[in-house]
């Protein structure tokens, strides 16, 4: 009975994981945000790991099976290397290849969890959890760069063309009126942090987003004091500070 339940869980998880893996083929999706893509992988790997854990049949005795430790530990590393956002442009162009790439994640997750259990009963849960934590955490910053000067995404590039170029002279005026008291007349810092070389830490889009919705103690001046154009111009000015 127990084994039958395990078989059902294993089969269902595998089926869900396979269907989800082929979503790029089914939906023909393109240019998905990297953070969302990482979450997709985390979900795929979760089902793969569940399948791997339920595949394991516990044995009586107190065993350590040394050779199984290696797939249990290499799995998370290989998965994170394969999740390199540098590959996304390639896999996005070929949905079928993308789907097989996803299937690979499922296999890796299943193997990681199963091998951990085979090594020592209970360790599979730890290795699966480790892989899952890494996959979820990856969504928050691995290849996701609100804060580093990088090539704009297609959406960002399109919207900035639509809005036209920023006015640095106007941005300087806005800065002098609203920002210089804390950040210094030349952005050298004062009560607030220095904004020199801010372009290394934040791209223009991220800088504008920050100005619109800052964290305390920085005051939120949008949309009351500053309008959309003011924000864009002052963000561009801040980005130009060296």
């Amino acid at each position: 009975m127990k084994n039958a339940v395990r078989n059902v869980i294993c089969g269902t998880s595998t089926l869900v994981a396979v269907v989800l893996s082929f979503m790029p083929v089914i939906t023909g999706e393109r240019d998905i945000a990297i953070s969302a893509h990482h979450f997709d992988h985390a979900v795929l790997m979760m089902f793969g790991a569940i399948a791997g854990l339920s595949l394991y049949r516990s044995r009586s005795g107190d065993f350590e099976s040394p050779r199984w430790i290696w797939p249990a530990l290499l799995g998370p590393l290989v998965a994170m290397m394969l999740m390199a956002p540098g590959f996304y442009a390639i896999v996005d162009r070929a949905p079928l290849f993308h789907a097989f790439n996803h299937l690979l994640f499922v296999v890796i997750a299943g193997l990681t969890a199963y091998a951990g259990q085979r090594y020592v009963s209970g360790v599979g849960w730890a290795s699966a959890l480790m892989l899952e934590l890494m996959a979820v955490a990856a969504a928050f910053g691995y290849g996701v760069a609100p804060a580093v000067a990088s090539a704009p995404t297609a959406v960002q590039a399109t919207s900035s063309v639509a809005r036209g170029p920023a006015d640095l002279v106007h941005g300087r005026q806005i800065f002098a009126q609203n920002c210089a008291a804390c950040h210094g007349a030349a952005g050298q810092g004062g009560m607030g942090p220095s904004l020199r070389n801010e372009h290394i830490r934040k791209g223009e889009v991220a800088a504008a987003a920050w100005i619109k919705k800052p964290a305390p103690p920085m005051p939120a001046l949008y949309p009351g004091v500053l309008n959309e154009k003011d924000v864009r111009d002052v963000a561009a000015f801040v980005e130009s500070l060296k």
Binding site: D62, E64, I69, A84, A137, Y142, V144, A147, R201
Partner: protein, 490 residues
């Protein structure tokens, strides 16, 4: 396949332990000299320039943490191997990964000239680097190998703990705490105190490794494909989640050794109690979330986690202070403790841990951190913790083994000379950082503003005395190791 009935010759387990410990101590000795060289540069006794200083600082940081971790790994692996036999091949492979990693880190610094420090913050080391790109790669790969070796070891230790005490429930002492009468009636033995140290090290070590490996892989991918950018705040969180936890666990590994050996000196037992179990549950949680105190100055960090950082930093201090340090003091009190090199180091290590912990708590207090952040107060507290805490526990464990092995103890004069060197010289060295930190002298500066150089000169004298103490200690250890063997299995 290794089952519970397989009995490995104890010699094989001892070989594993001594390989880890001697490698760790060799790196430690080298890094002490590097540290002395750095303090001498700050004192303006030497003048080799900031480029080399920052490379040496990077090597010193990575090397010291790795050396302490290696020593703790060897000792705790040996102790837990007595509970359930573990495959030495896995331990040797972990050792190989770590030593190859150390070689890569050394190569990145010399001849590579890498100098971004071991807990560098992205976009370092890719922006403004004065060293070649291969040095960055060698450093990142070196750290990744060290981390992978650590992961292998933690996994094996976790497996051992789960096997020995019937899964997580038994290993955490759950029934001991919540179903005490039933547990007593079952006749099961509770895990020994050092098994709690092993469990916490394995679990928090794997969590830290997950964070470290993720940010490590992201950095390696960025090194290979510069177009793959990383969120700096995310990277900083993961870097310190890994770095702080990894460094913090060194003392929890080492205290496992003290749990075993100090009672032998005192001829008493260190019992497992419900209080001890609960204290280690607290440690399990708080060690993993205290790292937020490294990001107090990051105003982009969500404010709620800043509160978590302060509260967790304070709460992390309670379990060791109440259970281990106070428990250790009570164990020794009126016990007719045999004062030898081993017991001296272990007991002094408890005091060092207490002082370093208080220094850390002061810095983890937000209003005080505003003033002490990135001053020499920071190296003051972690050097107290590592040099007069972890390192002393390790030396204590080494001498416990050597004294048991030889049946000999050191003369009173040798103990006084060693103690004067290590505690006296070490005290002067540490005081230099505390005084300079309280005076706002910045950390990680090759050339410090006044009064930094004057204080550094005094601290360097302390460091020289410390080195003399360590040399005497080393000579004494070799003497004991070379004496005829009287007992093989402490």
């Amino acid at each position: 396949m290794t089952d519970a009935t397989t009995v490995f010759p104890d010699r094989r387990a001892r070989n594993v332990m001594w390989a880890y410990i001697t490698t760790g101590i060799a790196i430690f000795g080298l890094m002490v000299l590097v540290g002395l060289g750095m303090r001498a540069e700050q004192a303006q006794w030497l003048n080799y320039g900031p480029g080399l200083f920052y490379s040496l600082m990077t090597l010193h940081g990575a090397g010291m943490i790795t050396s302490m971790v290696l020593c703790g790994m060897g000792g705790l692996w040996y102790l837990m191997n007595r509970e359930r036999a573990m495959d030495p091949g896995i331990a040797w492979t972990a050792y190989a990964f770590m030593t190859i990693g150390v070689v890569c880190v050394i190569a990145s610094v010399w001849p590579g000239g890498f100098g971004a420090s071991w807990t560098f913050l992205y976009p370092l080391p890719f922006v403004g680097a004065t060293w070649p790109s291969w040095a960055t790669g060698a450093f990142l790969i070196g750290l990744a190998l060290i981390m992978f070796g650590w992961t292998v070891w933690c996994t094996q230790l976790l497996g051992c703990v789960l096997r020995a005490y019937g899964g997580l429930r038994g290993a955490t002492g759950w029934d001991l705490v919540f179903h005490h009468a039933r547990f007593e009636a079952s006749g099961k033995a509770e895990p020994p105190p050092y098994a709690f140290a092993a469990l916490v090290t394995a679990v928090d070590g794997l969590l830290a490794a997950a964070g470290g490996m993720l940010v490590g892989i992201a950095l390696i991918v960025h090194w290979l494909y510069p177009g793959v950018a990383i969120d700096p705040l995310w990277a900083k969180n993961l870097t310190y989640f890994f770095g702080h936890t990894f460094a913090n666990l060194t003392i929890y590994m080492a205290i496992g050794l003290v749990y075993y050996a100090l009672p032998k000196y005192a001829d008493r037992e260190w019992h497992t109690s419900a209080v001890l179990a609960v204290a280690w549950w607290g440690t399990l949680l708080f060690v993993a979330i205290a790292y937020f105190h490294h990001l107090y100055m990051d105003f982009a960090q969500p404010q709620a986690v800043q509160y978590v950082g302060e509260v967790a930093s304070y709460l992390a201090a309670f379990p060791p202070a109440v259970v281990t340090i106070f428990g250790g003091a009570l164990l020794v009190y009126r016990s007719r403790l045999r004062w030898t090199m081993g017991s001296m180091f272990m007991y002094a290590g408890l005091i060092g841990w207490l002082i370093g912990g208080i220094g850390a708590l002061i810095d983890a207090t937000v209003p005080i951190n505003v003033s002490l952040h990135n001053t020499l107060w920071v190296p003051a507290h972690f050097h107290t913790y590592l040099l007069e805490g972890v390192a002393l526990f390790i030396l204590g464990w080494v001498f416990w083994n050597l004294e048991t092995h030889s049946g000999l103890t050191s003369s009173v004069r040798t103990r006084w000379l060693t103690g004067a060197g290590i505690f006296g010289g070490g005290g002067i060295l540490l005081l230099g950082w505390y005084v300079a930190g309280a005076d706002s002298v910045p950390r990680r500066y090759a050339a410090e503003p006044a009064p930094g150089p004057d204080i550094a000169a005094w601290a360097s004298i302390g460091a020289v005395i410390l080195v003399i103490g360590l040399i005497i200690c080393c000579v004494e250890a070799i003497r004991l190791a070379k004496s005829p063997r009287t007992e093989t299995n402490p």
